[in-house]
């Protein structure tokens, strides 16, 4: 058990025991870590305001096999600008949940860390749903799970409509599909493929309708579940 120091984001918090929390962190150089922070829920704890969702923190912790132990922590930023608007909070928490579920423990994944930092910077300035979806797609790409959305997995056509097949990680066209999978139009397939291959800062050029957003979320969630189940 060694003592380590790192900075990163609070992805998740769960109450544990009478006054402790189990906090999931995305730390630069360390990746996703889960740690127990003792006594944090007590009013007299110095760390009460430090560990809140989406906060950027510096932590000193005893590294252990599964559950680290927080020794000290300090707040770098509470990202208040992200937390002023319900839509922005929901977007940021959706990405945090996506990372929490997808990232393996103790893998540094610094590219993902930098991606999340860029996303939070965008969210601070008021980014749209497209930035959130782009960040989720890029996370999949960085972890080696980029879905094929621009062309049919079987015949290679770029003309839809398509169906997304979570187990195959891509789309099949109407000629190859059968009746399984999640339907998506050519337009949505192209928009998602574009978001998955361009910097998230450029996601503003794409505008997804509420129906397309819901469809994209259905696709991403189904694919996430498949990856988690298989991984």
């Amino acid at each position: 058990m060694g003592i380590e120091r790192g900075d990163g984001f609070v992805l998740r918090i769960r109450a544990f025991g009478d006054a402790d929390i189990i906090v999931t962190l995305l730390l630069h150089g360390y990746g996703k870590r889960t740690a127990i922070a003792k006594g944090v829920r007590r009013l007299n704890s110095r760390l009460g305001g430090v560990f809140d969702l989406l906060n950027q923190v510096e932590v000193v912790f005893y590294a252990r096999d599964r559950l680290d132990l927080v020794s000290q922590a300090a707040l770098i930023s509470s990202n208040e600008a992200v937390k002023r608007d319900l839509g922005t909070i929901n977007s940021a928490l959706t990405v945090a949940r996506f990372l929490d579920r997808l990232l393996p423990l103790h893998q540094p994944e610094d590219e993902v860390y930098r991606l999340f930092t860029r996303f939070i910077t965008m969210a601070t300035a008021g980014s749209g749903v497209e930035a959130r979806i782009a960040t989720e797609l890029w996370t999949l790409t960085l972890l080696g799970h980029r879905p094929q959305l621009h062309a049919c997995l079987q015949c290679g056509t770029t003309v839809g409509p398509f169906r997304f097949i979570p187990a195959r990680g891509g789309v099949l066209c109407s000629r190859c599909k059968g009746n399984v999978g999640i339907p998506l139009t050519t337009g949505l397939a192209r928009a998602l493929a574009w978001l998955a291959t361009h910097p998230i800062e450029r996601s503003r050029v794409i505008h997804l309708s509420p129906e397309e957003q819901a469809q994209a979320d259905e696709i991403l969630n189904a694919y996430l579940e498949t990856r988690i189940h298989e991984g």
Partner: protein
């Protein structure tokens, strides 16, 4: 260890805040206690499960149709204090500072745990405000992001009804040194400062 004792220890260990040692201590205490004491505890646990349910008005714990607070005509009927959990009511009651009614949400909105507004009693709160002549709603939710999300959602629903909405102050606990306060707590304390 003999099976009934082991089972008791296992069941006690499943309770929040009780580890193996505490569970063993309680189990051995019960073993050496009188039959009346042990049976009394068992009966109390059974009664809690059979006799206590949620107040149909505010979702606090109750033994009748309404909880003691809702059934008390001397309470201020125009003010509702919104809390996440029933046990927070007891804390507020002990202050002696509040004399209105309560509304228990049953938790907080938490996208991380897939708890949405529909999983809470927010719709019932809005209905109460519409039908009970409420003039003020006080939000006493935990000062963390889930509490803020829940508060924002409630405000968006209640603002159009023209009711006064306030939130309990957030900041430095009494008896604490300022030097140990983190920036978030201190900035909220400053934002919530009062005129003297």
């Amino acid at each position: 260890m003999i099976a009934p004792l082991e089972e008791l220890i296992d069941r006690l260990r499943a309770l929040p805040g009780i580890g193996r040692k505490s569970a063993e201590r309680i189990a051995f205490h019960l073993l050496s206690a009188s039959a009346e004491e042990a049976t009394g505890l068992a009966t109390a646990i059974t009664r809690v499960k059979t006799d206590v349910h949620r107040c149909r008005r505010c979702y606090n714990f109750a033994t009748g149709d309404l909880c003691e607070i809702c059934a008390n005509p001397n309470r201020d009927q125009e003010t509702i204090c919104v809390v996440g959990h029933p046990w927070e009511i007891a804390k507020i009651e002990r202050t002696g500072e509040y004399h209105g009614l309560y509304h228990v949400l049953g938790g907080l909105i938490s996208p991380m745990d897939e708890v949405g507004a529909a999983d809470l009693t927010i719709a019932a709160l809005v209905n109460r405000v519409k039908t009970e002549g409420t003039t003020e709603v006080i939000l006493a939710l935990e000062p963390k992001l889930e509490g803020e999300i829940t508060a924002m959602h409630i405000v968006s629903l209640l603002k159009p009804l023209g009711v006064k909405i306030s939130q309990i102050a957030q900041g430095i606990p009494v008896g604490r040194d300022l030097e140990f306060a983190d920036e978030v707590t201190l900035s909220r304390a400053l934002r919530g400062r009062i005129d003297l």
